[in-house]
Every structure is written in structure tokens, then in C-alpha cells.
Assembly symmetry: C2
Amino acid sequence: MIKQLHSDSELLDYIVNNGFVPGARLPSLNDLSAELGVSIGKLREQLEAARVLGLVAARPRRGIECNSYSFTPAARASLMFGLATNERLFREFSELRNGIESAFWRPAVLALTDEDKQDLKRYVSLAWHKLQQSRIQIPHQEHRAFHMTVFRRLDNLFATGLLETYWDAYEAVELNLYADYGYLTEVWGYHEGIAEAIERNEVDEARALHEEHLLLLRTRDVPRSSARQASFAEENSMVRSQA
Amino acid sequence: MIKQLHSDSELLDYIVNNGFVPGARLPSLNDLSAELGVSIGKLREQLEAARVLGLVAARPRRGIECNSYSFTPAARASLMFGLATNERLFREFSELRNGIESAFWRPAVLALTDEDKQDLKRYVSLAWHKLQQSRIQIPHQEHRAFHMTVFRRLDNLFATGLLETYWDAYEAVELNLYADYGYLTEVWGYHEGIAEAIERNEVDEARALHEEHLLLLRTRDVPRSSARQASFAEENSMVRSQA
DNA sequence: ATCGACTTAATCATCCGATTAATAGAATCA
DNA sequence: TGATTCTATTAATCGGATGATTAAGTCGAT
């Protein structure tokens, strides 16, 4: 099996071949340079790449530390750059997020604990509270927490990592998709129904509500996206034009 | 909107702020260093990171060229390292791939052209040919091509990028999931049915077959995965144990 | 005039050395 | 004992030197 997943990175090869576990600290760059026969400059290039991927963390005097594996940093780094050059990509990533939530809904909900279900209801009431104040606030934090709680028990680093990335990106682009009051109450009405259905262990009922509520979001037009690209109207999101 | 997607990378900031399009070439590192007031060494670290993410390509004398955006390189780089340290992750990524294929099946198939549908049938017959030879060959290339053709028209860089990444990873780990003859014929029986249903525009029939065929793969045990971790038997894949 | 081989120069790739900044841990002192 | 200072280690950044690669220009032969 051994398999050399040829990574053209002496640093990463060193990490995998010497079985470094999360939390373990690598030798200093000086020692690594001597041991691997690679200059420090080159090692630093690979170190920067590894750090962008979230694989290691480096601090002076503490050395280079291996992180526990996560898909999020790589996804976020790539997505953030993509969004900076083409904001339209946010819609595509939203589609991906919707697809992942739909596909993993069932096993995720089935694995929720009673405590998780109480958390869901708590987020709903917190959101209603924010929405019902005289000076209403957008319950964004609760929105993120609600969805991520649903998938809290999902044992899939990639699915959860991509969901996490979605919310990071949402906060970064600040499209304010959930801006107007009527829309927010509708969404949280769904959330409330979902939380209650989950509490009653009616998984399919919750699933149906979840699908409806995704559809609600899906049909919603992106409001004040940058008008940089004029070809917005004619695009038909899901499908690539035929060659 | 302007939004400084603070990237703590002078190089990437420079690219996005100056509107470099795919194919455009950046100034030389010397000039960039002078213009940005950043040393070449530091720029090279960021260049390596950008290259790992597949955002740029650098070649001597050609300079640094912006690539068209793709999610694949980042996903692949992260996944490959993850697999090198924990092969179990392949199953999780397979689950993700299954979920994406299920979620995007309908719009993808609906957008296929007649030519695409003929390609699907062609891959099926190529695969049967390989399987029916006296010295049978595993039609892996056809398997990949068949699935990627189904999603050829899907206009979602992230979904298609992750599917592409899956096949790259599959070839890298070489688990030989599709090894024995009986399994292969069963899979390609499904593929044949899918291709024909798609040709007859029976999208839901094709979808049902596709779901069945994914289930077939899902229930299949990973055969000769490294026995490094003995806790394989007791794991129940999809769900994280309760806190 | 066209084509191919050769030269040139621009640029990335790699390496080295030195300096700076940050910090963990030891030493010191109230 | 507890807070502070000191010191050594290490990453972070810089500047420069050299080699490798290759696009583009040059030259010559047919």
C-alpha cells in the first residue's frame, strides 16, 4: 500500500513519511534543511503552501506544528480568491452547499442527540427574539449555528468542511441575501418547523421542510451583487451552454 | 461592495486588485518586488502557495501566468495530503462524491446534448469490449469518462471540481475497489441501463438506476485497505460518535 | 526568400548569508 | 512565591549571487 503520493514537496513528504501526528512539532527549518538537503528558502516556500492549506502552523520559537486535518482551509483559500475575481461563483458554491445539505440530511439528523435538538430550538428562539425587537437585528450568527448544528454529528470532514466554508464565504462577500424582514420571518418559520419535526423524530417531515426552505433560497434572486458583469440576466445558473 | 477580501498575500491582492484575467502575465518577480515593496523571497513563498492552489503557473522566461479559476487543485492538494496520512478519508470523500452526484444528477442530465449521450453509449461499449477480452482489462478510464460525461454540462465549478478530484484521488490511492469481475459486470450493467435511459430521455428512470448503482458501491466493503488502524470494523462511517 | 540551427537575454529556480522579530523557558529579584 | 527580566532558539524577512530554462531574435545555408 505504501504508495508514494508524490507531492513534489519535500516538507510534506517528510511529514507523511515520518508519521507526524497532529500536534507534533517538526524540527527547525535549519535542521530540516540539513537533513533533507534542501535550502531553507525552498523549504519556506513549501511551508507557506502547507500553511495556506491549513496543514501546519508555524510560530517563532514554537517551531512548525502539524494541525489536525481539515478540508476547510484549502477550500476557503481557493474560494475566497475565486470570489474576489468573480463574485458569480458564490451562487455556484451555494448550489453545492444546497446539494450537500440535501444529500447528507438524513444521516446527519438521525445522529443528533437530544442535546443537539435542544440547541436547534434554542437558536430558533434566539433568532425570533432578535427579529421581534423594536430595532430588529439580522440573526445571522444563529442562522449559521442552526445549520451547522444539524450537521454537527455528520462524520464527514469534507461535507462539513465545505459547509463551514460556505458560511465563511457568505460572511466575506456580505451579499446580505437575508436582508428583508418578510424573507427572514419566512426562513425562520421553516427553521422552527424543522427543529420541531426533528424533536418529534419525524425525519422525513423535517427533510421535506428543509428541501422547501432550500428551494426558497434557491429561487431568490441575488439582490445587490456587483453590477460589474452585465451578463447576469441571461445566465441560466445550473447549466453550461452547449459547445 | 468593493470588499477587501484580506488575503494576507500581497501577490494575490495584486492580482485581484489589478484585474488580471486568465492568461494574463504578471510582471517579473523583480518588478513586483520593487512595486510592492516586498522582498522576492516572500513573494516566492506566496507564489508557491498560489501555484499549489492552481491560481497561477510560473515558467522561466514566460513569467507568471494567471490560470482560469478551478477548484480542483486546492481540493486535490488538500485531499492528497489527507489520504497520505489517513487513508480512511477516502471513504468520506467517496460519500461526498456520491452526494454530489445525486444532488446534481437531474440538472446535469437534462442539459446533455445528443452527442454527449452518444459518448455515454460509446464508453459503455468500450468497457464491455475490455471486459469481454480473453485477457480482461479493468475499464477504469471508461468508468471515469462515463461519470464525468454525465456531468459535463453542469455549470458548477465546485461540483465538477470535486468530482474530478475524486477520480484523481481514486487513481492515486489505487484501492482497486472495482477489482473482481462479477462486480465490474454488475456496475457496467447499470451504466448501460443509465446510458440507454438517458438516451430515451427517461431522466427519472436513469436517476433511479444511478441511485441504485451508487448504493451498490456504498455497501461495498473497502477490500484491502491498510490494516494500520484496527478499529475499522466498529466504525459506522457516516456518523460521528456522540460527545 | 525560407527554413533551421545557434545565440542571447529575460525570467524563474535555487541557494546562501545576515538581520530582525517573536517567544518559550530559564534566571533573577522583590 | 510570584512577577519580571534575560537569553537563546526559531521563524520571518530581506538582499544578493548563481544556475537552469526557454522565448525570441540572429545568422547562415539551401
